[in-house]
């Protein structure tokens, strides 16, 4: 409860700062916002057309990645599971790189986000299909197939980047997309991500009880009445929605989906009925705060993706040093 309150307060503070901080002083922005809301003017407004959409995207992405990571760590019973384990993020990333290479992103603003989501789903389908062909979808098969496909996709992406290394404009574009950036996000990005996030989060919330039962093991879960294959498939779909939406709106935010669930689990325990809502709030709060920090301190060298990766790396090193403690957590 205390954790929820803390993160809610952090989220509230980050939201306020996100809306207040910008190059145009807030007073001027606010006056123009009032005029716009009153219909006096229709011109582009920093608060309504950039800061607010950016805030919504940060909240959605933070919540999405944290919940996706928590769900995958629970399903795979592996603390190192993250959205990349099934090749979902690699698939979306490769699709976006292909779109950049073919310059299809110039056709319509929707092409890029759609390709990110489509790539994520396609690879999920491939991984699942391959696993079914091997005879059922036990966890080990899924992990191995996912890692194999992910490795293949990353290798192919590296091949493409090497082939096109002379096209420095293309490499620059891909590099800017890959690090994850909140610059110039608009309502188009919000509309792209929001329905995916809503469905994905609702799905994960709906299966919290099942995740608790599945934490006992696949056989035990079946014994207790959980349709493990169905629940797992639906949760994977939700994860693909969440990760695809985040890729579409912000790009790659590495490590976030791996680290945030660990923080939430240490604070709340492993009861998914409380863990998932905490991940939503904590993920949104932390990502929004990171963005506020980047803007407040004008850290142009760092992006959201790199900052979360640095933080995640430090977190894991601390975790290693403290690993003398018991590994079991209490519900």
């Amino acid at each position: 409860m205390k954790c929820n309150i803390f993160f809610l307060l952090l989220l509230a503070l980050s939201c306020v700062l996100t809306l207040l901080i910008g190059d145009i002083p807030f007073e001027g922005v606010w006056n123009k916002t009032i005029e716009r809301l009153q219909g006096i003017t229709a011109e582009w407004n920093p608060l309504l057309d950039e800061r607010l959409p950016r805030l919504i995207i940060l909240i959605c992405t933070g919540a999405s990645l944290a919940v996706a990571g928590a769900v995958l760590q629970s399903l795979f019973q592996n603390p190192l599971a993250s959205p990349s384990i099934l090749g979902i993020s690699s698939g979306g990333s490769l699709a976006v790189v292909l779109i950049f290479i073919l310059q299809l992103h110039l056709l319509h603003p929707l092409v890029l986000p759609l390709s990110a989501v489509g790539g994520s789903f396609l690879i999920l389908g491939v991984v699942y299909g391959l696993t079914i062909m091997q005879g059922g979808a036990p966890l080990n098969n899924l992990i191995l197939t996912g890692i194999a496909i992910s490795t293949l996709l990353i290798a192919f992406q590296s091949f493409l980047l090497y082939t096109f290394r002379d096209h420095w404009q293309l490499i620059q574009t891909i590099a800017e997309w890959e690090v994850g950036s909140t610059i110039d996000r608009s309502w188009q990005h919000v509309h792209m991500q929001l329905p995916l996030t809503i469905i994905g989060l609702l799905g994960c919330l709906a299966y919290r009880k099942e995740m608790n039962v599945m934490a006992l093991g696949e056989e035990e879960a079946k014994n207790l009445g959980v349709n493990v294959e169905k629940v797992r498939w639906r949760l994977f779909l939700c994860v693909a929605l969440l990760v695809g939406g985040s890729l579409a709106a912000l790009g790659m935010i590495a490590f976030f989906g791996l680290v945030l669930p660990h923080i939430a689990r240490r604070l709340q325990g492993t009861d998914h009925r409380k863990l998932i809502p905490l991940c939503i709030v904590a993920g949104a709060a932390v990502l929004t705060s990171l963005d506020v920090m980047l803007r407040l301190f004008n850290l142009t060298n760092l992006s959201l993706g790199s900052l979360s990766a640095i933080g995640g790396g430090i977190f894991f090193i601390l975790l290693l040093f403290k690993s003398q403690r018991r590994s079991t957590c209490r519900i």
Partner: protein
């Protein structure tokens, strides 16, 4: 209502087992290591999908029903489950209510199950704090909270001292007397013969024979299946 297995097979671990388990009886499944006792239990519950044959309940193929219906009919008490996290006895017993959606009946069913298993006094304790026998009671309580008419137990006496073993036998007997079909995979031939109404002998995945203990455990069977002489076992 009897639980009927018809030519039930799972890969080469279980081969064409046909048997009828009647309600109100305590069955013991015996056999040497690797005979397929645990495999049979997992196949009957549908945890492992049978490669052929069926499990019939109430005239229907039970394993073709939705997972929740299967769990409301058969509940398995596992052998030495490994927990990734710690949980209270009450919460573990309450997990047995998952297939049921009548929320208003949950707490009553959990209380009843724990009391029936003589574990109500342990409800707030974490499983890691309990002894082997107490843990076994909690898992049995969980099976009871599912209100399933068929209870399967996989080696329920493993790692239990004699006192706890006798307590568990007593509990199983009570459950059978209440009309449940209780089927337990047992290592201890003597205890199985003593406590169970009928024994089923599994050998190399096949059901060799079944019936009351003394009738089943002939010298020939003991020698051929278990490699034992009668005077080596105290019945």
């Amino acid at each position: 209502m009897a639980l009927i297995l018809k030519n039930l097979s799972y890969n080469n671990l279980i081969r064409e087992i046909t048997i009828s388990y009647k309600p109100g009886s305590l069955y013991g499944i015996i056999g040497p290591n690797g005979a397929g006792k645990s495999s049979l239990l997992k196949t009957v519950t549908g945890i492992w999908q049978p490669t052929s044959g069926l499990v019939e309940w109430n005239g229907k193929d039970l394993l073709k029903q939705p997972r929740e219906e299967i769990s409301k009919t058969i509940s398995l008490v596992p052998q030495n489950p490994q927990l990734q996290f710690d949980i209270t006895a009450y919460e573990m017993a309450a997990l047995g209510r998952y297939p049921h959606h009548e929320k208003h009946l949950h707490s009553l069913a959990v209380e009843r199950g724990l009391k029936h298993a003589d574990a109500w006094h342990l409800k707030d304790a974490f499983l890691s704090e309990l002894s082997g026998g107490e843990k076994q009671r909690i898992y049995i309580a969980r099976a009871l909270t599912t209100e399933a008419p068929v209870i399967l137990l996989d080696e329920p006496m493993t790692h239990l001292d004699l006192r706890h073993q006798l307590d568990i036998w007593k509990l199983l007997r009570q459950m059978a007397e209440q009309g449940k079909t209780v089927i337990a995979a047992i290592h201890d031939l003597a205890a199985a013969s003593r406590h169970c109404d009928e024994l089923q002998v599994i050998h190399q995945g096949r059901s060799l024979t079944y019936g009351p203990g003394p009738a089943v455990l002939t010298d020939k069977l003991l020698k051929e299946v278990f490699g034992l002489l009668r005077n080596e076992i105290s019945f």
